[in-house]
Every structure is written in structure tokens, then in C-alpha cells.
């Protein structure tokens, strides 16, 4: 079964064809990696999935429902969540609050509950705090719960973004370069973290430059270049694809 499908998805920025006629399908509970050189259109693809930019043409279907016209928060509520290439934490908030706010749409109560601290409020707020701690434990930041988010080291900030995304209880989680700026040990940790997320029953779509990580972890790889899908397949298929090698190494070196 496929959870996410795009059909001839296109997004132009003026004259720039950021993505052009991209079609692909992501299988339920799989890890799909999107790779490609800088400016290939990977982040733009994520922005289309999450409603941050509207596609110029084409369709995006999530669990057989068309989502390409929806608002970002509507898409998040349906069950697609993401992290950002340039970290976007709520820096003034503490680490735990960043995760708590992630449960905004999952644990609800209204203004009057908040004012009167009624039962519903107490139960929900208790759950929010408890879940937030569990997510922090999951990514290994439980000892930093009280710290201001922007005081965390860079690598931890990236993991905190993952925890915040998980807190929305998504079916699909989109990770935009989750290991950017990390050392090999941290990268290794994130790799096993991604495996663990898959085991929770979630589908992961990953943008990643680290080929070692991509080849080791992905069930399916999609290669973009200049906005166009130039190859897709299992890691071993993609690895040996001449078009991919050309895109990555450039024409000169091939000849």
C-alpha cells in the first residue's frame, strides 16, 4: 500500500523549474530517500508536501486523498510532519515545551478548561507532559528538558526537531538533511534513530547527502537533478545507474 503519491508534480519559481513532472510513490512503513545535488529541488518537494508552497501543476495524494490545495496546518493534522534543513525550533521555549507544543492538535482542551483548570485540562496537560518526556527519552535528550532550546548543541537541536515532529503523531515524517553539520558518531546515532522511528510504524521520507547513510538505510531511493527525477529504485540499482553517477560526478569525469 502507498501512503504518499505524487503525479507529475511541478513547481516553478518564475523561470526556475524547481521541480518538473516528478511522479513517485512511497510505500507504507518504508524509508524513502530523496537525493540529488544542491538546488535539485529536494526541499521544494517537501515544501509542496507540507503545503508551504503550492505546486504549479500536478497532484499529491496522501492515503488516496488529494492534499495539494490544503493549508500547512491541515496537512499536519492529516498526519504529515517534518523537520527543516535550516533548523526552526522555538528558541525562546524550553526543550520540553518544544515537544509539548507538538501535541497541540492531539491533546485538546478549550479556553475555559485552561482558565478553570477543570478535569479535562488536568488530564490532557498531564498526558502532554508525560508524552513529551517519552519523546525526549526516545531521542535521548531527557536530561536537557529544562534548557532553552537554542542553548542545545547543534546536533541535539536537529534531534529535538525530530521529537517535535513525532509529537504530532504523524503517519509520514519528512526529514530534511537530519545529519547536516553532524560528526560521524552523531550521524550514526541519527541513523539508528531513523530505524527506530520506522519500527514505530511510520513512513519516513529522507533528504540526505551522506551516501553511506542513504545506501545503508533506504528501502527506496529517488534521485533528482535540476528538478527532474532521473532515477529511482533500490539502493543497489541506483548506485550503479550511469545517469546518477553522471549527475553526481559531472560529465567531465565520466568522459
Amino acid at each position: 500500500m502507498f501512503v504518499l503519491e505524487t503525479n507529475r508534480l511541478t513547481r516553478h519559481f518564475g523561470g526556475i523549474k524547481a521541480i518538473e513532472d516528478v511522479s513517485f510513490k512511497a510505500k507504507d512503513r518504508s524509508i524513502v530517500s530523496i537525493i540529488g545535488p544542491n538546488g535539485a529541488g529536494k526541499t521544494t518537494l517537501f515544501n509542496c508536501f507540507t503545503g508551504i508552497t503550492k505546486p504549479t501543476k500536478g497532484s499529491i495524494r496522501f492515503m488516496n486523498k488529494e492534499i495539494s490545495g490544503l493549508q500547512p496546518h491541515e496537512i499536519a493534522n492529516l498526519g504529515i510532519s517534518r523537520t527543516f534543513q535550516n533548523i526552526r525550533l522555538f528558541s525562546e521555549m524550553s526543550v520540553i515545551e518544544n515537544v509539548m507544543v507538538g501535541q497541540h492538535t492531539k491533546r485538546k482542551y478549550n479556553l475555559f478548561s485552561a482558565i478553570f483548570h477543570n478535569n479535562n485540562f488536568l488530564i490532557q496537560e498531564q498526558n502532554i507532559l508525560q508524552n513529551a518526556f517519552e519523546y525526549l527519552e526516545f531521542i535521548g535528550l531527557q536530561n536537557f528538558a529544562d534548557m532553552r532550546a537554542d542553548n542545545l548543541p547543534y546536533g541535539s537541536q536537529r534531534r529535538l526537531e525530530i521529537a517535535r515532529a513525532l509529537a504530532t503523531e504523524p503517519d509520514i515524517i519528512l526529514l530534511d538533511e537530519p545529519t547536516a553539520g553532524m560528526n560521524p558518531a552523531e550521524t550514526e546515532e541519527v541513523m539508528s534513530l531513523i530505524k527506530n522511528i520506522q519500527e514505530l510504524g511510520k513512513t519516513i521520507i529522507l533528504i540526505e547527502h551522506d551516501m553511506h547513510l542513504v545506501m545503508g538505510i533506504s528501502d527506496w531511493i529517488i534521485v533528482l537533478d535540476h528538478g527532474v527525477k532521473i532515477a529511482e529504485g533500490k539502493p543497489e540499482q541506483v548506485r550503479n545507474d550511469p545517469l546518477v553517477i553522471e549527475a553526481y560526478l559531472g560529465k567531465e569525469t565520466i568522459n
Partner: protein, 384 residues
């Protein structure tokens, strides 16, 4: 040559607190010269000198840090509870001790605290600059004034109605205005403030124009008039506590967290499912609600309203309270409102120049503590 002299002065300012203070004090005094006589300028010089030296010494001695840690929600606080209880008791017994004049000043500060707390929801939590907050204050005040004088409705019946009409006006303004960002939103709210004031000023048949509305009733409870200063003081005191309690609770709920998230990063907030537009509207309607409450209190205190009380300067004054206390910090806002509301009374002799002093104070604040008196820590939006 000149460079050397400037360098020397620089070095001296760094080294000597007194020298640094006297430079600033001299500057402030010179500012005053065109407006007043030399005596005022000297007074100004001396008071600024003493004030600033005190501030600088306190900063150096870390007293301020200790004070901050005690009252800032981030830190474990040993003295906070006893201090707050002492404060509460002090405010509670004030009417028995203080002369009417001081009670009057405290009542006005209380009204400003409610206003500033409301504005802090919009500007400090949700990050939406509002330069026309006095308009909602005016709507609250006039709603009570009109309902009372034209229809004879009492204070308690009007209070929710005025609060809701201010709130509704907030919603009506926010629906179109929230399409705009930053500076544009500020300009639209400023424009709205002026429109409301000009309407009140010119709609003679309803509002009696610049002459205002007189004969507004004080609150009463079962035929007992609560217009006496001491009673009114307790009413305002109770409303300040109520406002503070409610806003603290909302702040540390999912609603408050959503506001902060929007202020910090709209894209990230929407990506976790927060409906940005809805929560901005929420902030506007919730914040302006308190302006309506404050307006009603103001009208029943003065028993008179006129457009003059709701100028652009008034909006700026309320915003200054929020900024002084620390944007987004509830206790800071209370402190900022209290200080700025007392300021004109403290500076009675130079009342005409309160805006000048306010400006000077804000400039100094921006230089030495841009995050406001109590701002700049991490937020605490967990129920505690």
C-alpha cells in the same frame, strides 16, 4: 587631538560610574533647558545623577541579578512566595493607611496594569504589533458610558458587554489586518486607533463629541454605592488579580504555547498543525477583552469620558509598559505598568515632560537592557 580627548572621555566613562552618570544627567538636563528654567534643569541633573549612579552601582554589585532570579519564573525562588504575599497584604491594607491621593494613583495604576496585560497577549505572546490599543480601551469605556447614561444599565451588567464589544472590535479589526505583516499591521492598528478616536470626537449626537459624556454611575452592590475611593480601590485590585490569574493560566496552556510558537516561527508552528490565522485572531480578541474591562473601570472611576483620554500617545504609553517590563513576560508587564503609571506622579513638578522622560527612559532601556526589565529568560508555559 580631538580623537585623544574623546578616547580619554571614553576611558573615564568606563572607569567611573559617577562620571558616566553625570554625563548622561548633563545631557538630560540640557534637554530640559528649552522648556523650563535653570532650576528645573539642575533638579533634573541631580535626580538623574543620583538615580543612574544607584542603578549602575546596583548593576555592578549583582543585586539586580539576585532580584531577577528571585522574580523570574525560570529560577527556583525562595523569597518569591513570601514577597508576593507581603505585597498582597501591603496592597490590601493600603486604603487604611494611604491618603486619598495615593489611593487614586494606585487605582489608575491598576487600570493600566490590566490594559498592559491585555496588550502583552497580543504583542508579547503572539508577536503582533498593535499601535492602536487605546481604541479598544475607548470602546470599553464608551460602551459603559452610553449604556449607563442612555439606557440606565448598571456597572455589573455593562462590564461583560463592554468587554465583549471591545473584544468584538478586536476581532473585526484583526480579520482583515492579519493578512498584513509586521510594519503594515502596526500602521493599520494605528489608523484604527485614530478612526475610533475621531469617530468619538465627531459623532456629536451620540457621544457628545469633544465635550465627552458626564454623569456616569459608579459601581454599586445591592443598592450600596461602591463609588467611594476605598471600595473602588478594592474592585480594581480584585480585577487586577483576576486578570493576572486568568492570563497566567492561559499563558501556560496549549493556547499560550501556540501563541509563542507563532511568534517565534510561523512556518514551524503551522508545520505542527497550529492554525496560524485562528490563533492570531484568538490573541487579538482575548487581548482586547481586557481593554474593555479596563475601559469600564476607567469610565466608572472618572464618571466622565472624552476622546482626549484615548489618543495615540496613550497607545504608545501602554506599549511602553509592556516593553519596559519585558515583552511576553507577565510579571514584567505588571512591573512595567506599575512603574510607568507611577512615573507622572513621581515627576509631578515636570509633568509636562513626562513623554520626554519616558522617551529618555526607553532609550536607556534599549541600550542597557533591550529585553526589558524581566524579559529575556526562557518562557515557562508549563502549569506550576
Amino acid at each position: 587631538m580631538i580623537k585623544d580627548i574623546i578616547e580619554k572621555i571614553r576611558a573615564l566613562t568606563k572607569k567611573s560610574i559617577i562620571f558616566r552618570s553625570s554625563l548622561i544627567a548633563a545631557w538630560a538636563a540640557i534637554l530640559f533647558l528649552p522648556f523650563k528654567d535653570i532650576k528645573t534643569a539642575v533638579m533634573m541633573f541631580l535626580s538623574v545623577l543620583i538615580g543612574l549612579s544607584a542603578i549602575f552601582f546596583v548593576r555592578k554589585s549583582n543585586f539586580y541579578q539576585t532580584f531577577l532570579e528571585e522574580f523570574h519564573p525560570d529560577f527556583p525562588h525562595r523569597f518569591r512566595k513570601p514577597a508576593l504575599i507581603a505585597l498582597l497584604i501591603a496592597f490590601f491594607v493600603s486604603p487604611f493607611i494611604l491618603a486619598d491621593y495615593y489611593l487614586d494613583v494606585l487605582i489608575i495604576s491598576g487600570i493600566y496594569i490590566i490594559l498592559a496585560l491585555g496588550l502583552n497577549v497580543i504583542v508579547g505572546f503572539a508577536g503582533l504589533l498593535n499601535l492602536g490599543f487605546a481604541a479598544f480601551y475607548a470602546i470599553g469605556a464608551y460602551t459603559y458610558a452610553l449604556l449607563n447614561t442612555k439606557l440606565g444599565l448598571g456597572f455589573w451588567a455593562c462590564l461583560p458587554l463592554s468587554a465583549l464589544s471591545a473584544s468584538f472590535a478586536g476581532l473585526l479589526l484583526a480579520i482583515p489586518a492579519l493578512r498584513l505583516r509586521g510594519d503594515y499591521l502596526a500602521i493599520v492598528t494605528l489608523g484604527f486607533g485614530e478612526i475610533v478616536r475621531l469617530t468619538l470626537n465627531n459623532w456629536d449626537s451620540l457621544t457628545n463629541g469633544p465635550n465627552g459624556i458626564t454623569g456616569i454611575a459608579s459601581p454599586s452592590l445591592m443598592n450600596l454605592s461602591l463609588g467611594r475611593l476605598e471600595y473602588f480601590y478594592y474592585i480594581v485590585f480584585a480585577f487586577v488579580l483576576l486578570t493576572l490569574a486568568i492570563i497566567r493560566r492561559v499563558e501556560s496552556s496549549r493556547i499560550g504555547r501556540a501563541w509563542i510558537a507563532i511568534k517565534e516561527n510561523e512556518i514551524a508552528a503551522s508545520s505542527i498543525g497550529i492554525n496560524i490565522t485562528k490563533y492570531k485572531l484568538y490573541a487579538f480578541t482575548f487581548g482586547t477583552f481586557w481593554a474593555g474591562i479596563a475601559g469600564t473601570l476607567f469610565a466608572s472611576k472618572m464618571q466622565f469620558v472624552s476622546p482626549e483620554s484615548f489618543t495615540f500617545i496613550e497607545s504608545v504609553f501602554i506599549l511602553s509598559m509592556v516593553i519596559l517590563g519585558g515583552l511576553g513576560n507577565t510579571y514584567g508587564t505588571v512591573l512595567g505598568a506599575f512603574i510607568l503609571a507611577l512615573l507622572p506622579e513621581v515627576l509631578r513638578g515636570v509633568q509636562l515632560y513626562r513623554m520626554l522622560i519616558l522617551g529618555l527612559g526607553l532609550v536607556l532601556l534599549m541600550i542597557f537592557r533591550p529585553q526589558g526589565l524581566l524579559g529575556g529568560g526562557k518562557s515557562v508555559r508549563i502549569r506550576n
